[in-house]
């Protein structure tokens, strides 16, 4: 009964509901969507990526993850809406259809399943993973300070009780390692996009250093074009720039890792707030947020499709 057509995309849902809905999406689009388990979380929950593919093996691909920080609920909700959008627009949207003829899209809606469950059941403000830290009563690592990119540098904490604790070593968090393994084993990702919330930013590398990335000019141009599309829907204003220059120096971030791995089109979104709610964005804002984000995502994807390397 909980078919993909009756699912309420304008609501926040617990992990089990989202995982169950993924099966419905796959069932509704068997020739396009598959659900692949990429590993398990620290607490043993499966981690599923939705793969949108029309065939072929290890085609050039685009990676999108959402909700690596569990309390940023509009990110995961946007991931759900986006998955449905890709599936339902395939065959009718000319550019998306063209892209999926030659490229695959991987979408990890719940990048931090344990944290997401914890934010639903125990602490709505939980941001990190739920791993135990040796010698500390505080749990969890900031999974966006745990990547092997300037690991342990400025903008990450050595304190396990901090919300930006980088963890004991690069990729110590199984949730991070699972993504690293998939991306490295695949070897043909052309774009890596991470969705966060909030404060309306579109960022590109680097975060661990304030030096310009080699492709900074191009990434800036791609980002500005994407944000122009995003803003055209509801007038939401975004800022574009490198992580270090637009927010602050932050080491161990995912898109710095992906960029250094050779995935040129690496971006991170900070989705909208209404200026009043922060992480508690009302559910009636999910669809407007996801809809405007999709315009930017699609613009980036089209650019990646048109600029093979």
């Amino acid at each position: 009964e909980r078919s993909s057509k009756s699912f309420n995309f304008g609501a926040y849902h617990p992990l089990e509901t989202i995982y169950s809905w993924m099966d419905d999406l796959v069932a509704a689009h068997p020739n396009l969507v598959t659900k692949e388990q990429i590993g398990t979380s620290y607490e043993g929950r499966p981690m599923y990526v939705l793969k949108f593919s029309t065939g072929g093996d290890k085609r050039p691909a685009i990676w999108v993850d959402s909700g690596i920080h569990s309390r940023e609920w509009v990110s995961q909700a946007t991931g759900v809406w986006t998955a449905n959008k890709i599936a339902s627009d395939y065959g009718t949207d000319a550019s998306l259809t063209s892209l999926l003829k030659t490229m695959d899209i991987y979408l990890l809606i719940l990048a931090n399943p344990d944290g997401y469950v914890h934010s639903h059941t125990s602490n709505r403000m939980w941001r990190k993973t739920r791993s135990q830290n040796s010698g500390s009563t505080c749990r969890g690592v900031d999974p966006n300070r745990n990547w092997d990119a300037g690991f342990g540098g400025p903008g990450a904490s050595t304190n396990p009780c901090s919300d930006s604790y980088h963890g004991p070593s690069p990729h110590s968090e199984i949730e991070v390692k699972n993504v690293v393994n998939l991306v490295k084993n695949h070897g043909n990702f052309k774009s890596f996009i991470s969705i966060h919330a909030y404060s309306q930013l579109l960022m590109y590398p680097y975060g661990y250093t304030c030096k310009d990335a080699f492709h900074a000019a191009e990434l800036d141009s791609v980002g500005r074009s994407a944000v122009q599309k995003l803003s055209s829907l509801h007038g939401t204003t975004y800022k574009v720039g490198s992580i270090c220059k637009i927010i602050y120096q932050a080491s161990g971030g995912s898109i710095d890792w992906s960029y250094n791995l050779g995935i040129k089109y690496s971006f991170a979104f900070e989705l909208r707030d209404t200026g009043r709610y922060g992480f508690i964005l009302p559910a009636n804002q999910i669809i407007p947020t996801a809809s405007e984000t999709w315009l930017a995502l699609k613009d980036i994807m089209e650019y990646v499709h048109d600029h093979s390397y």
Partner: protein
């Protein structure tokens, strides 16, 4: 389940480098158990701080003492969370 009764989220529209320095000092202080939703980095981006009820008086006093203008973005976090939870339960029923 952790509750946030009386917790407020305060927004500071930072006006100077000196204010950034003062807010960073506040961020380093673990005594008040503050949760910086947006960090003090530059004058372009506001700073949002979730302040536990028990630290409200002291934090506001600190800001006023240093002439840092602020507004209350969320006056009682738990009220918003209760609304969010009720909405989710309603959606789940549907």
């Amino acid at each position: 389940e952790k509750v946030f009764i009386g917790d407020q989220v305060i927004r500071v529209n930072v006006e100077s480098e000196e204010q950034i320095r003062l807010l960073r000092a506040l961020e380093q202080d673990t005594y008040w158990d503050l949760d910086f939703w947006l960090h003090p980095v530059n004058t372009e981006i506001p700073v949002d701080i979730r302040v536990p009820y028990s630290s409200l008086y002291a934090v506001k006093d600190y800001l006023r003492a240093h002439n840092i203008q602020f507004s209350v973005m969320i006056s009682n976090l738990q009220e918003l969370l209760d609304e969010e939870k009720a909405e989710m339960e309603e959606n789940n029923m549907m």
